[in-house]
């Protein structure tokens, strides 16, 4: 089955990203497809390439990057939600003349329409709220 996930909470402010990651691992282990994980609201913080997890805790970023590399899974960050929260890729950095970009290359910065597209393409939408 094709399952779309939505992640709405930031790491450390919410379990949203961590719960979604465990669910995604279990789903692909069970033979399901996750064509897209849509990071919205504060969930966009999961895409930060410059977060350093505490030594005794697993890195949420590493988990997503590894899972997406093994499976055909788009990690999609909403551009409107991410820009105001300081989660920007190189294209936006240049466009707004910002001092840095911080989106990890495994994440795609996309429009909000991709959330609706994910709902249209998938058999289920599972939202991990803040």
């Amino acid at each position: 089955m094709r399952l779309a996930l939505a992640v709405h909470g930031a790491p450390y402010a919410s379990q949203s990203s961590a719960s979604a990651l465990r669910f995604a691992r279990a789903a692909v282990a069970g033979g399901h497809e996750i064509p897209r994980v849509f990071f919205y609201h504060d969930g966009v913080q999961a895409a930060s390439a410059i977060a350093v997890a505490p030594q005794d805790e697993p890195s949420p970023l590493d988990g997503w990057v590894a899972l997406a590399a093994e499976h055909d899974m788009e990690l999609a960050v909403c551009i409107a939600a991410s820009l105001k929260r300081g989660v920007v890729n190189e294209e936006e950095r240049a466009r707004y003349s910002l001092s840095a970009a911080n989106v990890h290359p495994s994440f795609a910065v996309v429009g909000l329409g991709q959330l609706i597209d994910a709902v249209m393409q998938a058999d289920r939408l599972v939202t991990f709220a803040a």
Binding site: H8, Y40, A80, G113, I116, V119, M120, R124, L125, T127
Partner: protein
């Protein structure tokens, strides 16, 4: 592909976070995708529809004004939980939009008929 039935379940109050505003933006986007879109305001989400809001006072867009744009984006199935409205001490006249009130069984049926429900 047959259009999907997508419900937006909006339960958050409008200003302490951006979730309400961003969820409404998602509804407006959904409205242009030719899907069957409906919206249910429930619990503290009903506060999003109260008249006389002024987001400028706290440096945010006025959420009630964004909500009034729903019909312009072809989103016309706008529901409010009647019990939530009553609990907040509000009546339909206090709201920025005409809405359809639903009781618990009505909300249950609305949810049960969806392909997907997006929460805020």
């Amino acid at each position: 592909m047959a259009p999907r039935r997508i419900l937006f379940l909006l339960r958050q109050p409008p200003y302490a976070t951006s979730h309400a505003l961003e969820a409404l933006e998602a509804v407006l986007v959904a409205g242009v995708f030719d899907q069957v879109v409906s919206v249910l305001f429930a619990d503290d989400g009903v506060w999003q529809l109260l008249r006389d809001q002024d987001g400028d006072a706290v440096g945010m867009r006025t959420v009630g004004r964004v909500a009034t744009a729903l019909p312009q984006y072809d989103v016309n199935d706008i529901y409010v939980c009647g019990e939530s409205l009553r609990r907040l001490g509000l009546s339909p006249d206090d709201l920025v939009l005409p809405v359809t009130l639903l009781d618990g069984a009505g909300q249950q049926a609305l949810i049960a008929g969806q392909h997907a429900v997006v929460s805020d």
